[in-house]
């Protein structure tokens, strides 16, 4: 397969995926706006969080969706509907965590959202008869919300690249040094490089 063919297929594939995501965003956004007009806040939150979930960089609909969900949170606050408030916060929060890649899109929203989550969960827990005080309960909730077990994205990326390099080099070593006859010395030298690469990705996976 020629390089130009690979570039063509990859570009087509990427354009296809992005078109699909754009279409999904538009459909969910429209249905969410309609639901908001009907004051069906649950359906609106579902629709807006689906817009964010089908993330495309620089999409204007995502920013608008976040604002609309904040509007629902405000409405829930005003009407003291804490179940709706919890639903809106949790849905927005999960849709942002669900689109993480090398960095986290809408990270600034997330910081504010996490503090709201801590407060609301603590409030509901105390209302339910929890015996600890407000600050102690909030500390508990904070330790859950802020702790992260996901690997460091940058280190994980480097480790994965080393792993793929290892796989590619293993094949190259076989096909380059055994064209017709087996060149043992070169093959063994290649194995040494492979072991170094293996050490590299092992360390990378351990550290990330």
């Amino acid at each position: 397969m020629r390089k130009s063919e690979i570039v063509l297929y990859t570009t087509t594939f990427l354009i296809g995926i992005i078109t699909l995501l754009v279409l999904r965003q538009i459909i969910h956004y429209r249905s969410a706006i309609k639901a908001l007009e009907r004051k069906n806040y649950i359906e609106a939150v579902d629709g807006f969080s689906d817009v964010i979930y089908n993330h495309i960089p620089f999409s204007p609909l995502e920013k608008k969706s976040i604002n609309y969900i904040h509007h629902v949170i405000k409405v829930a606050d005003e009407t003291e509907d804490y179940v709706l408030k919890l639903y809106a916060i949790e849905m927005l929060r999960r849709s942002i965590y669900g689109i993480r890649h090398l960095n986290t899109p809408h990270n600034s929203t997330l910081v504010d959202l996490n503090s709201q989550t801590i407060k609301l969960r603590s409030q509901l827990l105390i209302q339910d008869g929890y015996l600890k005080g407000v600050s102690e309960t909030e500390d508990e909730m904070k330790s859950i919300v802020e702790k992260e077990l996901a690997p460091n994205p940058l280190l994980a990326f480097v480790a994965i690249l080393m792993f793929l390099g290892y796989v590619a080099f293993a094949f190259w070593n076989i096909f380059a040094h055994t064209k017709d006859e087996f060149v043992l010395k070169k093959f063994l030298a290649g194995i040494l490089i492979l072991l170094l690469l293996a050490f590299g990705w092992s360390i990378g996976f351990y550290l990330c």
Binding site: A150, K179, S202
Partner: protein
């Protein structure tokens, strides 16, 4: 698989490091959600596989036959299905095809590099599904044919195998630290070997399955051949069988050794695999979807390849006078693609997504959830660990319950929850039932199935239907009926938040979705029952409700207030009935 990929954790045995690494790599794409990106591993693997098949057959036959073969595979129900979900079977199929291709090249023109590359690929397969090792049988035939040339490359081949197998070190490394998900905790070499041998599956472990290969049972063989025949017809219909026979004839005419090689490939991935995993005397829906729909993708590949040869013979015969006929024949596989595609279009299926959200959302803050079965456990782990939805909950996987201790690792990781749920964090990484009593009294222990059904736990616990799940209560709770108004209130409170409507419009052919929708049927029936007691004049309706695997009949007085809920419940049950499933076989 998605949670383990994103968190660079470890999937269920045999750990699947290669899949997880590729999955994680794709999560770095700056668009789409994490599950969407991990699904691309399967879709890209299928694309690569179809390209490889096309190129292979174009070189061996002609382009139109290669296209026929590719379209046939693309039209098969299971291939489409596996290309669109977060599973490793299509990636595995790529590996199997590459081994097949290198073996084929050895038969054509043996070179040591092919042998070494096969050894390397077998090494990589250690970190994938072990059905790849069925290719050892056809490859053994290739080695016997080239015995003299092969003998001096045995040692380099072993080295290449070990270099490939080194990928499983990933499991050992990632088990050294807390990760988002680790389903095969293997911090030392012995545990790693157990994971690779899939010992956790007991009689389903790789060793036991291999052993059962040597136990001959005529009845089992008959059942496995019958089941394979049923599945083949379901996948491709009857006509391709003609092309298959013609294909064998075409290969025979070219080279008898290659015919034998092809026969071995197709037999190991059909009859032999079926003998080991799919020899059920009656074909249940679970067997059809969990075994047949997944394991037999390599069989479909070899079937389509041989049919490609058959098509080639036919196209050569028709080339002189009826050139247009082969082109028209290409339309045959195209007929099946739309139906198979729509039945597997999971992007239209919101049920698993919303059912998990609903199930977690309705729980009181800081509750303990005892989830039973893959449907409830895996999705909840993903939603909680990766998307942090209701991450205040502690999710325990019920199959690991060992009275009085319950295992908790993945849904309530010590690294985060040690100080939050100290009652659950004893030294043995398990919990004591007695310590949960305060949670139970606050109705904050919930289970997906009634714990009374467990012969040990029924001595200690009672359960009561809440919203989607059951509240678990201590044995000493005497007046359960007094709790009725509390649970009625709960069910009312969350009525608007539950997404049962996708169960009527998901359009997909998914046994897991069916199981999830049964939970909504149960909820709707209970909610209807709550509303039934307010009426005097009413008709009795009987409806099946589900708790885990168990189904019960519930009698409800129908009235104006609850009839719409009952209608939804009955419609959902009807929409998801087993007769609607493509692979369902009438008894």
């Amino acid at each position: 698989m998605v949670a383990a990929s994103f968190g660079l954790g470890v999937a269920h045995p045999s750990g699947y490091p290669i899949y997880l690494i590729l999955g994680k790599l794709l999560t770095f794409l700056p668009f789409g959600s994490i599950p969407f990106k991990v699904t691309l591993v399967s879709s890209l693997s299928s694309t690569v596989l179809l390209t490889l098949i096309y190129r292979f057959l174009s070189a061996k036959t002609n382009e139109i036959s290669a296209l026929f073969s590719v379209l046939m595979l693309l039209s098969s129900y299971s291939f489409i299905s596996q290309s669109l979900i977060q599973k490793f079977y299509t990636l595995n199929a790529v590996l199997i095809f590459l081994i097949f291709y290198l073996g084929f090249r050895c038969l054509e023109d043996y070179k040591p590099k092919y042998l070494l590359a096969i050894a390397l690929l077998f090494g990589f397969a250690l970190g994938l599904h072990h059905t790849t090792y069925f290719m050892a049988i056809p490859i053994l035939f290739v080695l016997v044919i080239n015995l003299k040339k092969v003998s001096k490359y045995i040692f380099p081949s072993i080295i290449c195998f070990m270099l490939g197998a080194l990928n499983v070190i990933y499991i050992l490394i990632r088990s050294q630290k807390p990760t988002l998900l680790n389903l095969a905790f293997s911090p030392n070499f012995q545990m790693l070997l157990d994971t690779l041998a899939r010992k956790a599956y007991k009689e389903g472990s790789s060793i036991e399955v291999t052993k059962s290969m040597f136990v001959f049972d005529l009845e089992r063989l008959y059942a496995s051949i019958k089941n394979i025949a049923i599945i083949t017809i379901k996948q491709f219909n009857y006509l391709p069988i003609f092309f298959l026979l013609l294909g064998f004839f075409a290969i025979y005419k070219r080279d008898k050794q290659k015919l034998f090689y092809f026969i071995l490939c197709i037999i190991v991935y059909s009859v032999l695999l079926s003998y080991l995993t799919f020899s059920h005397s009656t074909l249940t829906l679970d067997a059809a979807y969990i075994v047949a729909n997944q394991y037999f993708v390599p069989y479909l590949i070899f079937f389509a390849l041989i049919c490609g040869y058959g098509f080639w013979v036919l196209s050569e015969i028709l080339a002189k006078n009826f050139r247009v006929v082969p082109k028209l024949l290409l339309l045959i596989p195209l007929i099946y693609i739309p139906e198979h595609w729509f039945r597997n279009n999971y992007s239209s299926n919101q049920v698993p997504h919303y059912k998990t959200i609903d199930q977690l959302f309705v729980k009181p803050i800081k509750s303990i959830c005892i989830n039973e079965g893959d449907n409830d456990v895996f999705q909840a782990w993903y939603m909680k660990n990766v998307e942090k939805f209701r991450d205040d909950l502690c999710i325990i996987s019920a199959p690991t319950i060992k009275d009085p201790l319950w295992s908790i690792e993945n849904g309530c990781n010590k690294a985060i929850y040690k100080s939050i749920y100290p009652e659950l964090m004893e030294e043995s990484e398990s919990i004591n039932l007695a310590t949960l009593s305060p949670y139970m009294k606050k109705l904050r222990v919930l289970s997906t199935s009634p714990l009374e059904l467990n012969p040990v736990l029924n001595l200690h616990l009672r359960s009561f239907y809440s919203v989607l799940d059951l509240a678990v209560l201590p044995e000493e709770s005497s007046n359960l009926e007094a709790l009725n108004p509390t649970f009625t209130k709960y069910r009312e409170k969350f009525e608007d938040y539950l997404h049962f409507k996708p169960c009527l419009s998901h359009r997909t052919d998914d046994v897991f979705t069916r199981a999830l929708c049964s939970k909504y049927v149960t909820y709707l029936a209970f909610r209807a029952k709550d509303l039934s007691e307010t009426s005097d004049k009413s008709v009795i309706s009987k409806i099946k409700v589900f708790f885990g695997e168990k189904a019960y009949d519930l009698e409800i007085f129908t009235n104006d207030k609850n009839s719409h809920l009952l209608k939804y419940a009955l419609d959902i049950a009807e929409y998801n009935k087993i007769e609607e499933f493509f692979l369902y076989e009438k008894k």
